[in-house]
Symmetry: C2
Subunit: 407 residues, 2 copies
């Protein structure tokens, strides 16, 4: 059986097959960058029209109450919670991943008086490290980096917080959240997980792993739209002790009392800062609803099957590439990263053929597999394009787009 | 001449009269809360449809380059700049007002080593004070409050920063930016102005006043939509020294180099944190364009004329209310605030008649005059409704909406 026939057979058997029609996907494009910006759910168009025309246009200021705008951070957070193994009242959708990292690192430092070290790994997604460095610049933190297999050894008595990204943005390698969280606790440290490249593509078990804090991104596998609000998680047990310094008016116990003195809200709402972005949160809610409807276990199973099938198709065509992602699909997120000295040129040649993946420094061709809307047929076609590009060396002639895309 | 005839005469002579048609305003509503949430520009509906369908849906990840999403914070900031007397490269649209306050207060503290006091006034908008308190909680700041006429005396040698809201959210009272900024500098302090209730309603002269920093809101007079991104200003002279701690990846000198170490961007872009919210920024851009087209001087002239005309109409009907806003329109923003023991009930009775203003603790009926879309006829009608409500005491029977609206 040819790979294309096998691909079609698998697509027919795919329980998520029909969900592809719930997204807008441009004709002639195979979109392997949903790990960077998720595709547009058709329902988002209608929902945004309603929010703009009815809620803003007609309801005006009344919609803070009548359309429950004021509850959006909690409502969307509660919908994200089951995707990441958290309780509904432990999650909020708000601000950016960067800003939420700052809040939670600062809260952890305050809880851990006497300890200043934030332990992470070199090559973590930059904003995670930069936010540690921001608190270091304030004189409140000290950054320590340890390679993945040296993390446990680096968990000394001075470590306040272990901050890791669950699925690595470049390689797709997954950390063992349960083991590393336990090791952090053993050393008296707290654990904060960045779920940006995990949430929506695989089940995450924050409560089960006893994770203290987490953040994640709304615009990747959650399909919340460009620059969508992010989310944050604070374990219930920390809702009294965790105090973050971005004490905006909506984190106050009684925002509408307009008091001069800040008193944090009793629950996770103390992690809110300013007025919530209603357009962004409304779009994110649609994306989250869709992921929940598809089922995170089914999405995860399909994501692994897609990437393994692409590898089979490449093998069948005799294409050998240097895989920097883990070989075992259970050890990686929903992506395959290949190292090649001409990775950038190859990514551009693929784009010229309508196959949109991306390039990451250094020398990494990154292909992401958003299971919500990709087909096995797309994998077979990607393998064909990649084989042809490598065979013809057309990448040597590809027109380069000089500016990199947002991760 | 009756007040309604006079109102219509003024509407006909109003050079901004036709701009009302560029907004969606619900039938039967007189909207006096544009100082809280601005009305929907009709062009925003089309622009958002384009951003969603074309840029996100069709362009996908390519739109970060092809649709210049990556430039939106700078592009919208540059358009806000002339409205506040700043240079284009001194302003960014990003994050919330609260988060931007934190960045700039922290930057000022770092520049002023040895000084920790942030001077503000009691009753300032809560988020301004709460953000000082957030830095105080970090051990980096010390809040000091002084009544408006005691501010200059309170500018001691320990003051790092004077943080004031230009137009007070409750009373509408304007501070003298030039005088107080000069006094702060005289004492060796920096000055940060919150322009949330000024920007879009009156000209602001940041450069002329030698202001160091400013923040402001996108969803009030700029008509950017609910929870729109805010803006921040950093004077060019501080672009090298001002370092803020929310060092997200987009504030990096080379975000797409994905380096482990943070190096701030050379210009105001160092004040960016995470990935920009594209839906919110796109809507804000339409609102800002419209304000710029109308002309900030014309808007200011009309806003003063509207509020003074309302007072004339109230006088003509024999209504006497306790005005807590300054009597002289040049000393206040685009609002009138009246103190009344039944202010909340009166605001609800007005809403029941389709006149939407709002209530602010304690005992304040707040009426805002967004000059972009209000008519003099609306002022005459508001005066009639208010006179009838006070005369009939129907406010004693008004149904109360228990939850307050967002300022």
């Amino acid at each position: 059986m040819t790979t294309i026939e096998e691909a079609r057979r698998r697509d027919e058997a795919d329980p998520l097959h029909d969900y592809r029609e719930r997204f807008h996907l441009p004709k002639g494009v195979i979109y392997l960058d949903g790990n960077s910006l998720g595709a547009l759910p058709l329902a988002t168009r209608d929902r945004l029209k309603e929010v703009v025309d009815e809620e803003w246009g007609h309801g005006l200021i009344r919609s803070w109450n009548d359309a429950n705008w004021i509850d959006l951070p909690s409502r969307v957070g509660a919908k994200i919670a089951p995707l990441i193994g958290a309780q509904a009242h432990e999650v909020l959708a708000c601000d950016s991943t960067s800003v939420n990292l700052f809040k939670l690192i600062a809260a952890a430092l305050k809880m851990q008086s006497g300890r200043k070290v934030i332990l992470s790994e070199p090559g973590n997604f930059p904003t995670d490290l930069y936010m540690i460095q921001g608190l270091q610049q304030q004189g409140l933190a000290e950054q320590r980096l340890a390679a993945p297999d040296e993390i446990e050894a680096a968990l000394g008595e001075d470590v306040a917080l272990l901050l890791l990204t669950h699925t690595h943005y470049r390689t797709g390698r997954k950390h063992d959240m349960a083991r590393l969280t336990a090791a952090a606790h053993e050393a008296g440290a707290l654990a904060l997980w960045d779920l940006s490249h995990s949430c929506g593509a695989m089940p995450v078990h924050l409560n089960e792993c006893d994770a203290d804090f987490a953040v994640g991104c709304g615009y990747k596998y959650l399909n919340g739209g460009p620059g969508a609000p992010a989310f944050l998680y604070a374990a219930e047990k920390h809702h009294i002790d965790a105090e973050q310094p971005l004490t905006g008016w909506l984190g106050h116990k009684q925002p509408f009392a307009f008091e001069d003195d800040y008193t944090p809200a009793a629950g996770v709402e103390r992690m809110l800062a300013g007025t919530p972005p209603i357009l962004g949160l409304s779009a994110l809610e649609v994306g989250v609803d869709l992921v929940a409807e598809m089922g995170i276990e089914r999405l995860y199973a399909k994501s692994q099957a897609l990437s393994e099938f692409l590898r089979e198709c490449l093998s069948a065509r005799g294409v050998e590439l240097d895989l920097v992602s883990p070989d075992d699909p259970s050890e990686r997120g929903s992506q395959l990263s290949f190292r090649h000295p001409e990775a950038y040129a190859i990514s551009q040649a693929l784009i010229a053929r309508g196959v949109i993946g991306d390039y990451r420094e250094p020398e990494i061709l990154r292909l992401g597999f958003a299971p919500a809307y990709l087909r096995f047929e797309d994998m077979a076609e990607t393998a064909r394009h990649l084989a042809e590009i490598l065979e013809s060396r057309e990448y040597e002639r590809a027109e380069f787009n000089e500016r990199a895309a947002v991760t």
